[in-house]
């Protein structure tokens, strides 16, 4: 087996050099890498979860730092962390099911800035469930605490899972890792099949004689439209070319090869053509926690056009694109500015960029992504079904735990 560190370094390299394109590929590779990390991580008998979590965190921190704009990496790291916690919990509840009543649980009533958390000796199933949900009033209210003797240690939230269980752990030491690996495999499976699951819902959304508009090229959209075609829906597609990479041309070619009537328009023509369109269907790079979308450049304009003409704007996104972070200043922080040579020929314009003779005043900006605010999106279609943008936080609660919002390796001793 190749050394884990080499694998990590290789992947880091690829991320840094921007060699991997597409969130699905990135997500899959990240998941596979983390799977290797977990399987090769040696876990002590006690505090297993913490060890695993720390290992994943350490690698995750590096991966996220290599390319902060590629949100899929962070998403998968957090998913894996959540899986670890969940598996741990389910094992614990199974073990504790037979035990008595002495109740105590941890409480996670605060977000990543670890506040107080109390170490306790045993777990109650119902209360335990709440540890994984994001803090809510309800969780506040359902917490019970140990008798006054329990010390108030202000350890970091990551420790909250490291309860000082003693004997019960022995039996599940191997099981935890096994379960986690199984769950991670499932995750990888999900990522690979996300297209099919989304495409299955195509029939409900595309009806006969509709005109669909899309921009650029997205595999998800392609599969979606194929599926609708398979089900004998007849519809037409307008493809906006998606300058400067003109990937819309590729999409149009594929669609036409499949027998769909396709029309290519320039990005600037979207407003002119939108009144003839019934629905806009696009893919996304990432979906943020407030329901906003990080999408290929030009889609904000399309969303505005759609709103103006009351055309539904549908975003297709696999669940690995769901990000628990809020976008503050997304146009700058979550955007990747690529080489201007995609827009201009360097040779032709080299005399405008000659700083020697003082004519160096031509600046070319080539952003890759656009931010579409949640109020412009009508519907999200993920592999779990169709959702409202304001429902996104629920999905996030299902897939991620609150402690993992900031993936940083915490010091093991309480601060």
């Amino acid at each position: 087996m190749p050394d884990v560190q080499t694998l990590v370094n290789e992947f880091l390299n690829q991320l840094k050099k921007r060699k991997i394109e597409g969130s699905q590929a990135t997500a899959k590779q990240t998941a596979e890498l983390l799977r290797s990390v977990i399987s090769q991580q040696r876990v002590p008998h006690t505090n297993q979860t913490t060890a695993l979590i720390n290992a994943v965190r350490a690698v995750g921190e590096q991966l996220i730092a290599a390319n902060p704009v590629e949100l899929a990496v962070g998403n998968i790291v957090r998913r894996v962390l959540h899986i670890i916690r969940e598996e741990d919990l389910s094992l614990a509840t199974a073990a504790m099911a037979g035990l008595g009543v002495s109740a105590a649980s941890d409480d996670e009533d605060d977000v990543e800035r670890g506040e107080n958390s109390v170490l306790s000796a045993a777990v109650v199933a119902a209360a335990a469930r709440s540890t994984l949900r994001p803090p809510s009033l309800q969780t506040l209210l359902e917490d019970t605490s140990e008798s006054a003797a329990a010390p108030h240690t202000s350890s970091s939230g990551g420790e909250s899972d490291g309860r000082s269980r003693s004997v019960e752990k022995g039996s599940k030491s191997r099981k935890l890792k096994h379960d986690v690996l199984e769950a991670v495999n499932e995750l990888i499976q999900d990522i690979s099949t996300c297209y099919e699951q989304i495409a299955e819902q195509a029939v409900e959304h595309i009806h006969h004689n509709e005109v669909i508009l899309t921009l650029g090229s997205s595999n998800t959209v392609l599969e979606f439209l194929y599926a609708a075609k398979e089900k004998q829906r007849s519809f037409k597609v307008f493809v906006a070319e998606g300058a400067p990479r003109y990937q819309g041309h590729l999409l149009a070619k594929e669609l036409a090869a499949r027998g769909l009537q396709t029309t290519i328009i320039t990005d600037s023509a979207v407003f002119a053509m939108i009144s003839r369109v019934n629905m806009v269907i696009v893919g996304a790079h990432a979906v943020m926690a407030n329901g906003g979308v990080i999408a290929p450049v030009g889609l904000n304009m399309v969303a505005l056009a759609a709103q103006r003409h009351a055309v539904p704007f549908v975003v297709l996104a696999g669940s690995h694109k769901l990000c628990p972070l809020y976008p503050h200043n997304p146009e700058v922080l979550l955007n990747e500015l690529r080489s201007p040579s995609e827009l201009l020929d360097f040779g032709e314009f080299s005399d405008c960029m000659d700083s020697a003779s003082g004519t160096g005043s031509l600046h070319v900006v080539n952003p890759t992504f656009d931010y579409v605010p949640p109020k412009l999106v009508s519907l999200f279609i993920t592999d779990t079904g169709g959702h409202n943008p304001s429902y996104v936080y629920r999905l996030i609660a299902d897939y991620y735990s609150a402690d993992d919002l900031v993936v940083k390796r915490r010091p093991t001793t309480g601060s």
């Binding site: 605060d110 800035r113 506040e115 994001p134 009033l137 209210l141 359902e142 605490s145 008798s147």
Partner: protein, 376 residues
């Protein structure tokens, strides 16, 4: 003559009822005037920021202030007194003071059964609430506390004393959380303040001040536009505080908000209460600012602690219990002229972008979800 909502009538009735004899020992002399705002005015008048700093320093590192010994064992325990004691610390929010007071109630209660204890708590809570009927956070805080404390499952299985001590602990903890809420909110909102941004704030919210303090401490470059906040001119106070932090501040009169809105990057307000729809109740003028910001596509961020979530669902402005406060125009007004004296308004959720609470960053639609879950 002019159309009013039905709630207007109800308000009038309520007010008249309030005037007709107060059974509770309400130290508030004039029930027409919102004690809530009176308190705040008093604080702002009396206390200087140095005092504030000292008080904060004195209290700062101590996470759990010593439960004060019973002041006078002879005197019957009065929750209002306790409440007032706590309230004296100006940086303490009213609701937190109430919570602490209620915790003290449990501590010094002489009940012997859970039912008795619960009844005592309810009575104390009612008296607190009636002390200022207009304060939403007070009501909400008390309600939440009651639910928090009385919802301990497995209480039936234990004997009274240990249950009581556990209750005390939870009460203290809740007080703790509420107290620390401001810091949590401040930390959450840091990322939303980017270098070079312009923030518009309205009124004097201690939470928002905490947010800005932390941002200045983290060497972020930003400037603040502060509305004057008539009639109590709380904006001037805030401007004072910010100037001490070396943050560039610009004062505006309330009517100049639309004029300067295009230079603004975001609006930050506090809240007196967060209602079920996800909207907020805050100082008069917030609704106006939110409308202007919304029309110009500027985000409106609200900083509110979680104990302010109230079980109210106002449909329009007049559905709120009015909080009246005196307005001094500087010149005598003929008595025929009516003056709108309401001190707060309701901002519907569609004009708000995000709420920063100690539970995390929430969109307005999440609030209703949370509250529904809670009270199910």
């Amino acid at each position: 003559m002019w159309w009013r909502s039905a709630s207007f009538i109800m308000d009038r009735q309520q007010n008249e009822a309030a005037l007709k004899g107060e059974s509770s020992p309400n130290p508030n002399p004039n029930p027409k005037i919102s004690a809530y705002y009176e308190t705040r005015a008093a604080h702002h008048g009396v206390v200087t920021s140095d005092w504030l700093a000292q008080a904060q320093a004195a209290i700062g590192p101590e996470p759990d202030p010593e439960p004060q010994p019973r002041p006078d064992p002879e005197k019957p325990f009065s929750v209002i007194d306790e409440f007032n004691n706590w309230r004296k610390q100006p940086h303490l929010a009213e609701a937190v003071a109430a919570i602490r007071a209620l915790a003290a109630v449990i501590r010094w209660s002489e009940a012997t059964t859970m039912m008795q204890l619960e009844m005592e708590l309810k009575k104390a809570s009612d008296s607190l609430k009636s002390w200022d009927a207009t304060s939403i956070s007070l009501t909400a805080g008390c309600d939440l506390f009651l639910r928090y404390v009385t919802r301990t499952s497995a209480l039936e299985y234990e004997d009274f004393n240990s249950a009581k001590s556990r209750l005390i602990e939870r009460a203290d903890k809740f007080g703790e959380i509420s107290y620390k809420a401001r810091n949590v909110i401040a930390m959450l909102s840091q990322d939303f303040i980017f270098d070079g941004c312009t923030i518009l704030v309205h009124g004097f919210s201690r939470v928002v001040l905490q947010v800005l303090k932390l941002a200045a401490h983290n060497n972020k470059l930003f400037r603040v536009f502060c509305t004057e906040g008539r009639p109590d001119r709380t904006g001037l106070r805030l401007a004072n505080e910010l100037a001490k932090l070396d943050v560039p501040v610009k004062l505006l009169i309330d009517s100049a908000v639309a004029y300067t809105m295009d230079e603004v990057d975001m609006v930050f307000v506090g809240a007196d209460g967060v209602v079920e729809s996800g909207g907020i109740i805050n100082m008069m003028g917030t609704y106006q600012i939110a409308l202007v910001a919304h029309s110009m596509n500027k985000p409106v961020y609200v900083a509110a602690e979680s104990y302010k979530f109230a079980r109210l669902y106002p449909l329009d402005q007049k559905d709120l219990a009015p909080a009246i406060r005196p307005i001094d125009f500087g010149v005598p007004i003929p008595s025929k002229v009516e003056v709108e004296r309401s001190a707060r308004d309701y901002t519907p959720p569609q004009y708000l972008t995000l709420l920063f609470t100690d539970l995390g960053v929430l969109t307005p639609s999440v609030v209703s979800d949370e509250l529904i879950q809670l009270y199910l």
